[in-house]
Subunit: 273 residues, 2 copies
DNA sequence: TTGCTCCTCACGTCACGTGAGGTGGC
DNA sequence: TTGCTCCTCACGTCACGTGAGGTGGC
């Protein structure tokens, strides 16, 4: 068949993979050399393996984990590109979850550093807080953490759902209209993540109503429309999705704080009509 | 002073930290228990330590690594909140780099899955490619990888800079106007990352010129204005930043592909006037 | 007395990178 | 003959989680 054999170094240069990585893939049975010299243990690769090596590199550049990558290659070898696509789509889901997470963290860090909350960095600033507020906040954050996970079981889904409602409840007991608004928004978001259009819409509407009844405007109002757009997206109602997406964008233009605007934009960017 | 002591479990519940985490922080000298029973080795925490525990939890929720967290707490204890802020600002830089990275990866995955390039997942589809094109692409991707790193030395910066130019050069030799456009765009972006307004502006303008001369519109034109806005931001020219930001947004509305639009939105969201 | 809490190791995670110490090939 | 390439271990990474095996406290 092929007779030209490549040393590991040359093969690495041709594929863009490091020697260490190639040895690792050999050990993991992802990409075995065509031949191994029994006396020197030198690895030799065939030129026809370059294609596979480059594909591995491209997929690794896309942060595809090695086990998934192995499955993708196996599906490809078995002549089943649909299976391969499906695996990569699932991977995309993980990447998007990471994206969300980073967006949230970056936003909270910017808010923290913008000054209003820096007091917590000063010694002895934080005394005992209202316990209930703490509970509501903890549940809110924990709900977000769960939303970012991609390995939830049905039980986890159920727990997350109740947790979001619980956070909203506790905020309702002690918080302001703004807190209730944020709570409804999160509850709606949870339902969109779970693919349940009806309750997602219900709470998005509740979110909007709270804004209207309390003269809440600025970014909170924009996010109410974002929630509606997202809920309609899940419901498959393109027209309404576009209506609220547009409304959210318009309101976005009026947002005073650029950080808040950036967060809205990033969220809106994940809504596809 | 304080006499009420808390077991590790109670302390964990009050702070939202797990028992395992608390033992880890003890070992790492981040948060030592107030007292350890010498006979049972049971850890006991003081109520006044709850505040510190909660602060640690909040910062961990923001993905602050333990070593940085230790430095932040030390700065706080030393009554130097400015130092603490500075450390967190540096951390924000890392988070933003991760954010960029995920955005790119998600976008490339979506493009891959949208169908046009899925052929690579089919067996034997990819034959030997044009070597030069490969080089240009590799350099382009490698430049992005370097931009995402936050631990670059001055030598790395220099290498990254030349690499971006080299990618642009090779694409100029073989690619289309669209390739040259993307090349100029990346070169401009590199200069903004390095904080060098003059060349950033130069190449952003080159980017726009290439679009105009070749009747390139849609998302590529929008990105040319994004580059200009970013370059003006680095130059500190608010007026011009806003002008091109607005122009990029207008053009964004006309983008056909929602994926491209989302990528633009995410990029624009990181430009602050 | 029964659980429940707490303890200390030891190992696993993910994809390699970094040596150390040694040998083959042009 | 000199570098350069290649080899195989062994260890480190990051922040804990997961047992195993055992003991203290209400």
């Amino acid at each position: 068949m092929t007779e030209e054999l490549l040393s590991i170094g040359r093969f690495g240069r041709l594929t863009g993979l490091t020697v260490k990585a190639l040895r690792h893939y050999d050990a993991e049975d992802l990409l075995k050399p065509h031949e191994v010299d029994p006396s020197t243990a030198y690895r030799y690769y065939g030129v026809e393996q370059v294609e596979r090596g480059r594909l591995i590199r491209r997929l690794r550049d896309l942060d595809v984990p090695l086990d998934v990558l192995g499955d993708v290659l196996a599906a490809r070898d078995a002549g089943d590109p649909e299976k391969a696509k499906e695996l990569l789509e699932r991977h995309l889901g993980h990447v998007e979850a990471g994206l969300w997470h980073h967006q949230r963290v970056a936003h909270r860090l910017r808010v923290l550093l913008s000054g209003e909350e820096t007091s917590m960095l000063e010694p002895n600033a934080q005394i005992e807080q209202d316990e209930r507020r703490q509970v509501a906040t903890d549940l809110f954050n924990e709900t977000w953490t769960m939303m970012e996970r991609t390995d939830r079981t049905p039980d986890d889904d159920l727990r997350m759902l109740h947790m979001a409602h619980a956070s909203r409840f506790h905020w309702g007991e002690i918080g302001t209209a703004s807190h209730r608004d944020k709570g409804e928004w999160q509850v709606s978001r949870v339902y969109t993540v779970l693919g349940r259009a009806e309750p997602a819409l219900f709470h998005a509407r509740a979110c909007l109503r709270i804004c209207e009844e309390n003269d809440i405007t600025d970014w909170e109002l924009a996010f109410a429309h974002e929630a509606l757009a997202r809920a309609y997206m899940v419901a498959g109602e393109r027209q309404q999705t576009e209506v609220h997406l547009r409304r959210a964008r318009e309101l976005g233009e009026l947002i005073a704080d650029p950080e808040d605007k950036a967060l809205l934009d990033q969220d809106l960017a994940t809504i596809t009509v």
